[in-house]
Point group: C2
């Protein structure tokens, strides 16, 4: 089977076609979930899958499943996939590579008329990025039962547009119930989004689990007042409260450096005008650490900032929503298949954790799961300059192909 | 002349009518400059002025002048006024009281068939608040030659709507050139916007000048990156840079407490989404102190934050625009007239500075100017709960009437 390998040029053609749909301002992609560009990408992807002989189904939250029949279609499928939506200033590969690698695996098997015992399904999960509708990894979360379908359909973006209506608008509100069916295994290939593989000259990262991540929306309530006559001790400036939380969270990240990190990436302020102290701010904080106990410490430190900020800025701070992900250990059997494939193909590899969020974390709750990382230039991601090369990537996709095949023929 | 006094009930009728135009969410006003509500208020005010026998002219930036002829109309007018626009969550009296007090003075003189030697003009300046278009005090600034008309007409609000187009849309792009004509004197009555008069049981503050104020827009440039895999030392989070500046400015305010104050009331972040570190932020900082030398110290401290922030957050900070106001000493002659009127009417009063911005600062550069403060409840302003009572206010308006009359008959 040593000669079995994907057609890298063909994979790159699909990546290049995808890279033209929803272009960003600086050479990357801005393909927000349920946007017109998302529809266009879905349409092309579905056409490609049908051309490859797959049956495409769409579930009620827009997850796409392209099924290649197996020899025994009573068996649960082996799934391969990731997501086709991007960040608002995102790259051409984050998510996209994992879905199109799945399609390339189907095409490679078709080329050789190779059947598998179990059916294969190439999956594209809806709204992995969480940039337009929150939380991230929505489609996979519903499929795995971690979020309720109706709740997701009712979420709104910053312009007040509703997830369910936008999904109907782009024609991807499907009939299939999301989840509730057996999955034999799930494999996801993704760019590393960090610099380790490249720095160490490795072509494959075998992801064993994630950084434990805690996120929260915080609201800050203060009081409108005039920027001039209102003396400092009478102020209840919600923006000052938000800024104290943002600076404090950043300091927590540094205290747990180099493994820990803490981020604020979003603040909404009202009225956010000149001359009037704002009475409301809403912000997002996110902390991550590879060790769950250290992540819990960081979370406790973040929560300690709340009463401190309330006192210093004379505001009221509330935790409006909390979430967590990443404290997951992927399946030893699936990891073993990936590792065996990497050894067999003599691809330099190591085990590692992911610091990002992935659809695979949710699917791991309902099916044996593994992830493969491939290198990306300088670890740059969620940035339009994100870049990979075919040489960096093809070995990982071939490892994926072997692992999927082994599992599907089990 | 002891029997000459305004009709407080009639003044209150106009204030009550104004309070219904552009209502806020919580009992105050939200009458943003050049909005439909601004048009409605202007229409009613113009009708009232014409009913009072005035000739109304509108200049090219929308300033309104309601002229009551004098005995010698070759003499420059005495002006009385303030502004009819409000903050986005503003009160019913800030600015409004000063304009409608001017109208009430005209009506009182009409009641008694009292002529004045010089003509009187009741003025409403466009966009004092600076909430929708910046900087504040735009109309008065153009009239006094501190801003160029064409530059002002080209300014845009947060929705990209242009000042000049909005002015035309509401029908108040007038023919009169803004400024460039002699003004004998300018008097402005305004609520104090602070707690001093009420606390000391005084009914009139004679404003001798302003707190020296420095404002600036700062831009922060960082780099998009992923909130997870990007380690702390690789980050260039523009929001963290902005938050450091906001917290730092707040600390400067406290170091110069109780007289000094420093504010950030606005931050705009891009992309301001979950999961992606923002590459851009823009914020407004504003510092004030009654002593010009101390204000200059505060400004120097604020500017020292810039390189510190650039280093700590690995961002680039630029001063996109700077402005200053308030370092003004009003005219001794006009102040003397106000003080003489207060003494004559036995109204408890004191001299004081204003910590807010006022149209009068600009007009003081081209004409002898004075301001009268009247008390407001608890000093609350730029807040929908702003409140005054007729009893608190009428003595100040009567002082204004005497001072204006004395000047106009000089």
């Amino acid at each position: 089977m040593a000669e079995l390998s994907i057609n890298t040029a063909r994979l790159w053609q699909t990546i290049t076609a995808s890279a033209a749909i929803g272009p960003g301002r600086a050479g990357g992609l801005r393909r927000l979930t349920l946007s017109d560009a998302d529809r266009e990408m879905r349409d092309i992807f579905v056409a490609w899958c049908r051309d490859a002989g797959c049956t495409v189904t769409v579930d009620a939250v827009g997850n796409l499943f392209a099924r290649r029949a197996g020899q025994d279609n009573s068996l649960p499928p082996v799934m391969v996939g990731s997501h086709l939506d991007t960040q608002i200033a995102g790259g051409k590969f984050d998510g996209v590579l994992g879905v199109l690698a799945g399609l390339e695996i189907v095409r490679t098997l078709n080329d050789r008329n190779m059947a598998t015992r179990r059916p294969l399904e190439v999956v594209s999960w809806t709204n992995e990025e969480g940039v337009r509708f929150q939380p991230p990894m929505m489609g996979a979360a519903v499929f795995a039962g971690a979020l309720q379908r109706d709740w997701v359909l009712a979420q709104k973006d910053d312009d007040g547009l509703m997830f369910g209506e936008e999904l109907r608008r782009i024609g991807y509100a499907g009939d299939a119930p999301p989840g509730g069916r057996a999955v034999d295994a799930y494999f996801e290939l993704h760019i590393e989004q960090g610099p380790q593989l490249e720095a160490e000259g490795l072509q494959v990262g075998i992801v064993t689990g994630g950084f434990t991540t805690y996120g929260m929306h915080l609201t800050v309530h203060g009081e409108n007042a005039h920027s001039g006559p209102t003396s400092m001790e009478r102020r209840r400036n919600a923006l000052v409260g938000a800024a104290m939380l943002i600076v404090g969270a950043n300091e927590i990240g540094w205290r747990h450096h180099p493994e820990g990190r803490a981020s604020s990436s979003r603040v909404v302020v009202w009225p956010n005008k000149y001359g009037i102290l704002p009475d409301f701010a809403e912000l997002t904080c996110d902390i991550r650490h590879p060790q769950p106990a250290r992540a819990a410490e960081m979370l406790a430190e973040l929560k300690k900032l709340i009463p401190q900020t309330e006192q210093r800025a004379r505001v009221t701070v509330k935790v409006a929503r909390e979430w967590t992900f990443g404290d997951v250990q992927f399946d030893a059997g699936c990891i073993g298949l990936v590792e065996a494939a990497a050894r067999e193909l003599q691809v330099p590899h190591k085990r590692m954790l992911s610091a990002a969020g992935h659809d695979a974390y949710h699917i791991a709750a309902i099916a044996p799961t593994a992830m493969i990382f491939t290198p990306c230039k300088d670890g740059v991601t969620h940035n339009e300059a994100e870049h990979i090369e075919p040489d960096y990537t093809a070995p990982g996709v071939n490892v994926l192909l072997r692992a999927v095949l082994a599992r599907a023929n089990r």
